[in-house]
């Protein structure tokens, strides 16, 4: 696939615009996944996918053949998502209300049984988790998503975020601390 991608890139750079469609079709699902996990909603994720592939096309001459096109466009997508999540409007939208009091956030964790009450509780847990994720800074969230959900190495995360590996590790650690603190009420009732 890698060699094939490289030949497609060469074709695109030689003037064959249509060849880029092959790359978009091959990698759009993976790009959407990471975009959704960082952005947290479909609409933003789809815009991030478009933006990532557009930026990749515009910078295609700078694409180094050492890495795969998939990895490269993935990194561009993470950066696009990071910029989007870091926008003040979006951050403010997620940070509605001050719910720092653990007492007000205490909920019960759903068990494996699928009775309606527990399904409802499960949804509440997901909502609380999502809310806690949105409280993270853009960098913390991005670092945590890449490490915890996408299972990327610290080196890769550092490269994507453009920071030193130790800084990337600290970003993940801060995110974990905040999430554990935010979700502690849920654990307390588990």
């Amino acid at each position: 696939m890698q060699g094939n991608d490289h030949s497609v890139v060469r074709a695109v750079l030689a003037g064959d615009k249509e060849a880029y469609g092959t790359l978009v079709r091959a990698h759009s699902a993976a790009v959407f996944r990471v975009a959704f996990r960082i952005a947290g909603n479909e609409a933003d994720a789809e815009e991030i996918v478009q933006e990532a592939f557009l930026r990749a096309y515009q910078r295609l001459e700078k694409f180094e053949q050492r890495s795969t096109f998939g990895t490269w466009v993935y990194r561009i997508a993470v950066n696009c998502a990071l910029n989007r999540v870091g926008e003040p409007g979006i951050e403010a939208e997620y940070r509605h209300g001050d719910e720092s009091d653990p007492e007000t956030k205490t909920v019960q964790v759903a068990t494996q049984d699928a009775d309606p009450e527990r399904v409802l509780l499960g949804r509440e847990v997901s909502a609380a988790q999502e809310m806690a994720m949105q409280r993270l800074t853009a960098t913390e969230k991005c670092a945590f998503v890449l490490r915890h959900l996408e299972e990327r190495s610290m080196g890769e995360i550092a490269e994507v975020l453009g920071v030193a590996p130790n800084a990337a590790k600290q970003a993940v650690f801060r995110a974990v601390q905040k999430l554990r603190r935010e979700l502690a009420p849920l654990r307390g009732n588990a």
């Binding site: 003037g15 978009v24 959704f36 479909e42 979700l183």
Partner: protein
């Protein structure tokens, strides 16, 4: 005993912990309990279900993206991608280059051939020098014989006369050449020598009295001295533009 920090627990969770931290975790009940809680809390953070995108999603993205893309300019694919006028220009340039190289080569060859001619002339001149030296040697011997010729030896006088006749022709040639080459010293000496040779060669009965007259009238001792000076003269010490011994004939 120092227990594991939260950061160390995180490292172990993501399988990046040090061996020492892992060993401590195994041996420390308190840390094991703490780590179990830590692990549970992180395990609980499950990835949110990503909305499924079917195989047509790629097409959807591409169709939305396609109008925004400007094709890259085609790069020239070698000489086949050249237009006819570019090819013609390149061919003309090549032709001009080859022509210039040919003319330049010819000119260079001509320039180079001149020193070669001089190089050929050098050994030729060396031959002339040897021949003239030989002539002067023979002339010197003849003058010495003439200066020391005893009375009444007719056979010796006849040999002297024969030698003078042989030298006369070549001496005339050398004299004319020396005059042409602008070497007055050599030309003058050869001229005086020629007169002596003429007298000796053309005398019908060369007697001792005749030889004495020649010796006195023509100062053969002086001519002998001149000949010896000429023989001693090195090719680069000539008075004229070229060596006296290396005069062209």
């Amino acid at each position: 005993m120092k227990h594991l920090s939260e950061e160390e627990q995180l490292d172990i969770y993501y399988e990046e912990g040090s061996d020492a931290a892992k060993a401590h975790l195994k041996g420390c009940r308190e840390c094991s309990s703490e780590y179990a809680k830590f692990k549970r809390s992180l395990d609980a953070i499950t990835p949110e279900a990503v909305p499924q995108r079917g195989p047509e999603y790629g097409d959807f993205v591409w169709q939305a993206l396609r109008p925004q893309l400007i094709p890259y300019e085609k790069k020239a694919a070698g000489w086949r991608g050249w237009s006819w006028w570019k090819t013609a220009t390149a061919a003309a340039a090549c032709l001009a280059l080859v022509t210039a190289a040919f003319i330049g080569g010819r000119y260079w060859e001509q320039r180079k051939s001149q020193p070669e001619v001089a190089g050929i002339a050098q050994p030729q001149q060396r031959v002339v020098v040897v021949v003239l030296t030989d002539h002067l040697d023979r002339t010197e011997r003849l003058l010495v014989q003439l200066n020391h010729a005893g009375p009444g030896d007719r056979a010796e006088n006849a040999q002297l006369q024969s030698e003078a006749r042989e030298l006369l022709a070549s001496n005339r040639l050398y004299r004319v050449s020396a005059s042409k080459e602008g070497d007055p010293a050599l030309a003058g000496a050869l001229d005086r020598l020629e007169r002596v040779l003429v007298e000796v060669a053309n005398d019908p009965q060369l007697t001792t009295a005749d030889l004495d007259r020649v010796r006195q009238d023509m100062n053969t001792s002086g001519i002998l001295f001149e000949v010896r000076v000429l023989l001693a003269r090195k090719p680069n010490q000539e008075s004229g533009p070229e060596s006296a011994k290396g005069v062209k004939i």
